[in-house]
Point group: none
Chain length 284, copies 2
DNA sequence: GGCGAAATGGAATTTTCATTCCATTTTGCT
DNA sequence: AGCAAAATGGAATGAAAATTCCATTTCGCC
């Protein structure tokens, strides 16, 4: 309670404090300290009653333990254990501290920059964890068999599709960017057949034109790989194979970093797979 | 409630059930389904009240959702979301092991993906270290004073400029994307005056058309902010202010993540600075 | 366009949980 | 050993949270 020094807000700091003070603590509280360090996720998710039972102490002892560490009650201490679980997923702890320091002295635009960067890093990190290698291989397989790859991605997704069009061009892979210039989107995709393939990219709120184009292609049985953000996406319904990419956002603006990384991967992988069959130009 | 079939005890099963049933669910519950899959951590850690607020629904709707998935109440469903996190933590060491295995037996495309992701993370990290906050503020200042912001960025930089055009549009900032449709690039930029501004993006090898357009604008004294990769870039010579962004590359393909992060920052910062003068639309 | 059923919002209620309090036990010191 | 101070256990309390209930709105069908 009478805690003049700053009380640990992150798990690393709390852990250190527990180790330091444990020796000077009464028996029952030492017991709790040991339990806490050994079963941190129990502390994070359990209730006072359930933890007390597990650790074979009284509920009140848990509260006293938290107070002896400087917190007002058990709930405050538990919050630190929970934050550890949130952060650990992406290995953050240090980052957040750093960001906090930055944020104090920084201008509004600097805060924005770090916020967007953070969102980008988070997005990439989470896709790295959950991207299915087998799905990636299948997607490359579908696309590399296509005579022409049709790229659907308008509005927010247009940077992705236009990047792929650029890179495919450099790599000598025949592709068609559906850019809807002159209102000719439908005409642009009309030539796609079963021998081609579609790569469709769309995120909430799904641009209705992109969806309509993808559906038109699907109706004609053009093989389709989709990149979208939810199993409820209209693209997920119609694609032969789809990737779920959830981008983190900052101030309501979603990152595109993870999607872009995936797009680059597909582009290069398809180009390389093709080169094995028919030799082609290689470029940056 | 009247759940004869086994109700999901692990997250994977629950996830599948949510996807299956969501279509047949009423509007509000579908909304919750989407939120739950997109923010599983929130469900795991939050309280009914806090989650309800985040997802913009009533607390009672969350309980109904849980019941429609076969659970007795929200707490039971939440327990599944929590178990997912527990498991994830327990698997942490395994994960590293798994990653090691991946690296050995990984498919070519997985290696590509991790390579590009790493390049993106590196690029962002290095820009975070060296981006000058004062320069950022000045750039925002220059751009926010413009009547119309002309966006120059072709070929490899086109994803960046097209993203900014999209975002500026959403934010109600007048901008003109020089997309060179119909070979009309010169005409597109011809209207720019001293009261406007140019944001030019170009990297080695500098697309000659981009450079020519920027020079044309500079000759007419249009204020210019540039994003490029070297002090020797032709853009650096003519811009009033320029950012050096060095993107890491993998297998000869440069990331765009850092540039994109900077682009988002400029876009939002300019929009916010403008809103102080004249009220405008706010959107994602 | 009107009727009935389903869905929804929000307040009321119940349950669960953290915290506090106090009687009892243990510990440390003389 | 005997006393005071600290620690402990367990029940009582109050706060917060989940759940239920009901009036109102929305939706689908005739």
């Amino acid at each position: 309670m009478s805690q003049l020094d700053t009380l640990p807000k992150d798990f690393a700091g709390l852990r250190q404090r527990i180790v330091e003070r444990a020796a000077a603590l009464p028996k029952r509280l030492t017991q709790i300290a040991a339990y806490a360090l050994e079963h941190p996720d129990e502390i994070a998710f359990g209730t006072v009653a359930s933890i007390a039972e597990q650790a074979e102490v009284q509920p009140s002892a848990l509260v006293r333990f938290a107070q002896s560490m400087g917190y007002q009650g058990f709930s405050d201490l538990q919050e630190v254990f929970r934050s550890r679980l949130r952060d650990r997923i992406l290995n953050y702890e240090e980052r957040i501290e750093q960001l906090r320091l930055h944020a104090l002295s920084a201008s509004k635009s600097t805060v924005l920059f770090h916020g967007f960067s953070e969102a980008a890093e988070k997005s990439i990190g989470s896709l790295r964890e959950k991207l299915d290698p087998a799905a990636l291989d299948r997607a490359v397989d579908i696309l590399s068999k296509a005579e022409t790859i049709y790229l659907i991605g308008l509005r927010r997704s247009f940077p992705i599709s236009s990047y792929m069009a650029y890179a495919f061009g450099k790599l000598g892979v025949r592709s068609m960017l559906i850019d809807a210039v002159g209102g000719l989107a439908a005409e642009q995709i009309a030539a796609a057949t079963r021998k081609d393939a579609v790569l469709a990219v769309s995120f909430t709120p799904y641009a209705s034109e992109s969806v309509a184009l993808a559906q038109a292609a699907a109706a004609r049985h053009v093989p389709m790989v989709a990149v979208t953000d939810s199993p409820f996406s209209p693209l997920a319904q119609i694609a032969d194979l789809w990737f779920e990419v959830v981008e983190a956002n900052f101030e309501g603006f979603r990152s595109m970093a993870a999607t872009l990384s995936l797009a680059m991967t597909l582009t290069v992988a398809v180009a390389e797979k093709r080169t094995k069959t028919e030799p082609r130009i290689r470029a940056t």
